[in-house]
C-alpha cells in the first residue's frame, strides 16, 4: 500500500504542470469560443474532451441532434483519414440547407461550431488558432 501511495504522489508531481497547461489551453479555447459565439450568424458550439463537455446553443431543443451530428462528423473524419490517408484532419464542414457545422480537433479537444450558411468559416478558424 505504501509503495502504491508513493507512486501516486510521484505521478501527481509529474502530472501537475501538464494538467495546468491543459487547463490553460482549454480556458483559452473557451474564451475564443465565447467570442465566436457572439459573431453574427453563429448559433452555438460544443466543446468536449476526455474529462468534460460544454454545450452552448441558442436553441436547446436541438442539443441532442447537434451533439450526435458533431460526434458523427468527427468520427467519420477519423475513419476516412485512415481509409484514404488524408493525413492530419484540419477541419470538417457539414453544410446543410439552413445551417453549417464546422468541426475540428485542437489537441484533445473536439469542437463543433454551428452557424448560418453565410458565416465565414475562415474567420472562425483564424480566431481559434489565436493563443
Amino acid at each position: 500500500m505504501v509503495k502504491k501511495k508513493r507512486s501516486f504522489e510521484e505521478l501527481a508531481s509529474v502530472a501537475e504542470p501538464v494538467a495546468l497547461k491543459e487547463t490553460s489551453s482549454v480556458s483559452n479555447l473557451r474564451t475564443n469560443l465565447e467570442e465566436i459565439k457572439a459573431y453574427e450568424g453563429v448559433i452555438g458550439y460544443i466543446l468536449r474532451n476526455s474529462t468534460s463537455a460544454s454545450i452552448e446553443l441558442k436553441d436547446p431543443t436541438k442539443v441532442i441532434d447537434y451533439a450526435i451530428l458533431s460526434s458523427s462528423a468527427l468520427d467519420a473524419s477519423e475513419e476516412l483519414s485512415e481509409l484514404f490517408s488524408l493525413g492530419e484532419v484540419k477541419d470538417i464542414i457539414v453544410e446543410g440547407k439552413n445551417v453549417k457545422v464546422l468541426s475540428l480537433t485542437v489537441e484533445e479537444n473536439k469542437i463543433s461550431i454551428f452557424m448560418d450558411k453565410d458565416v465565414d468559416c475562415e474567420r472562425i478558424l483564424r480566431k481559434l488558432s489565436q493563443p
Binding site: L83, S85, L86
Partner: protein, 262 residues
C-alpha cells in the same frame, strides 16, 4: 439498358472525371438510403461501404440542419468532398493541391447531366435495385430477354410457367435485434419493403430472405416486419447476434437482401 449497364455507364463517367481532373484519386456515388450506386475503378466496394457507414450518423441527424448539401473533410494530404446532387451523394477524394473549383465545376455539370440522361434512357434501373421497387408486370422481363437473345426464343420451347423477374436486391444497414422472445433465425425488415417485394412478385407473403455481405458471405433466414417505429423507413435490417456472427458482420454494416421466391 439494365441496371448493370446503368452502373457501367456511371462507372465510366466517374473514371472520366478522374481523367479530366487527375488530382481526384477516388470517386463514387451512393443514394440517400445509403445504397452504393457506382464507384470508379480505383475505389473498392469495401472502401465505399466503410465511407457510407462512416457518413450514416451524419446523414441520420442531417434533418436538424435542413439536410446535408455538402460535407468537406480537409486533411493535410488530401481532402474529401461529398455533394448532394438530385437524390444521390457524390463523393470525391482529391489531393491537397487539387483545384477544387475546377473539380466541382466538372462534377456539378457532368454528374447531373449523366444522371438525367440515364433516367431518360432507362428510368427503371434507378428503382430496380433500390428498396423503392415498383410493381412490374411478370411478362416484361421475358420480353427483354427475347429482344436481347433472339436465338433462344427462336427455339420452340414450351415453358410450364412464366419466367419470374429477378428478385429485387435491397441494400440495408444492420441493426441489432435482441430480447428474450426474439427468434435467433429471423431478421426484421421494414414492412414497406416487404409489401413492395410481395407486390413485385404477386406470390403472396415473403417468408424468407437471402442476405449477402460485401465479403460474399450469404445466409438464408426467416423474415418478419420491423416492430419498432424508430427503425421504420430507415433502410435497416434488424438482425440477431447469431446471424451477425455467422455472416461476420456488425451493426452499422451494409448487406444485400433479396426475398426468396418459391
Amino acid at each position: 439498358m439494365d441496371s448493370e449497364a446503368y452502373t457501367f455507364a456511371l462507372k465510366n463517367t466517374l473514371n472520366e472525371i478522374r481523367n479530366v481532373c487527375p488530382d481526384i484519386t477516388n470517386t463514387f456515388m451512393f443514394r440517400e438510403n445509403c445504397e452504393i450506386i457506382a464507384g470508379d475503378e480505383n475505389t473498392s466496394k469495401k472502401a465505399m461501404t466503410r465511407v457510407v457507414n462512416a457518413f450514416a450518423g451524419i446523414l441520420e441527424k442531417a434533418a436538424s440542419i435542413g439536410g446535408v448539401e455538402s460535407i468537406t473533410i480537409e486533411g493535410s494530404n488530401r481532402r474529401v468532398n461529398v455533394s448532394h446532387i438530385s437524390d444521390t451523394y457524390f463523393v470525391t477524394i482529391a489531393s491537397g493541391k487539387a483545384d477544387m473549383n475546377h473539380a466541382n465545376t466538372v462534377t456539378r455539370i457532368l454528374i447531373p447531366t449523366v444522371l438525367k440522361l440515364l433516367e431518360k434512357i432507362c428510368p427503371t434501373p434507378l428503382k430496380n435495385s433500390s428498396h423503392l421497387t415498383k410493381k412490374r408486370p411478370v411478362a416484361e422481363p421475358s420480353e427483354e430477354i427475347a429482344m436481347e437473345e433472339p436465338k433462344e426464343t427462336e427455339e420452340p420451347e414450351i415453358k410450364p410457367e412464366p419466367l419470374l423477374p429477378e428478385p429485387p436486391v435491397t441494400q440495408l444497414l444492420v441493426e441489432n435485434l435482441g430480447g428474450l422472445l426474439v427468434a435467433s433465425d429471423t431478421v426484421r425488415v421494414d414492412g414497406q419493403i416487404l409489401s413492395q417485394w410481395e407486390d413485385f412478385h404477386e406470390r403472396g407473403k415473403i417468408e424468407e430472405v437471402e442476405i449477402e455481405t460485401f465479403d460474399g458471405k450469404t445466409t438464408r433466414c426467416k423474415v418478419k416486419p420491423i416492430k419498432e417505429s424508430k427503425y421504420e423507413r430507415k433502410g435497416t435490417i434488424q438482425m440477431p447476434e447469431k446471424i451477425q456472427l455467422a455472416l461476420e458482420i456488425r451493426k452499422g454494416e451494409l448487406v444485400r437482401v433479396k426475398p426468396i421466391i418459391e
